[in-house]
Symmetry: C2
Subunit: 96 residues, 2 copies
């Protein structure tokens, strides 16, 4: 039986490859692929942020090695940060 | 509609709280809770490692602030590292 944690980890890997395989290096997200990923997977988050440049800003923050592409490790750092923020929001809302 | 990425992030939060709420601080994993989590969620991974102390070692690696407990942020660091390792394994096996 696959556990919830394993399913979640598998989900992260699947999401990344669903988008990274579209153009260029199949194991990295180009700018266009990253934008599609954000729009397809985190549209509520993008809508909540009123900044039209948010996708570009995320991209340049993530691209640590400045090669214009985001690899899986850089992607996981984004997801980890977002998940920590969501968890804090969730804990706050439980207090009230 | 909830996306696969959102579902995966939610899964990580749920797994953590399923175990962290059992004893002591409800928002942190004690040593016992961490052990249950590893056994319940990553039993295949534990079985693959032949080291009987692996749970203790993971715990002490994760507990950055040395309070004997693992908070959500410390937990996410573990999951991120494991997921990157899984992704590399997955990419290697696709090559062959």
């Amino acid at each position: 039986m696959v556990s919830l944690l394993e399913k979640s980890m598998e989900g992260l890997i699947k999401v990344f490859h669903n988008y990274s395989g579209k153009e260029g290096d199949r194991h990295k997200l180009s700018k266009g692929e990253m934008k599609s990923l954000l729009q397809g997977e985190l549209s509520d988050f993008l809508a909540a942020s009123k900044d039209p440049m948010v996708a570009e800003k995320i991209m340049s923050d993530l691209d640590e090695n400045r090669d214009g592409e985001v690899d899986f490790q850089e992607f996981v750092v984004l997801v980890a940060a977002l998940t920590v923020a969501c968890n804090e929001f969730f804990m706050e809302s439980m207090k009230n």
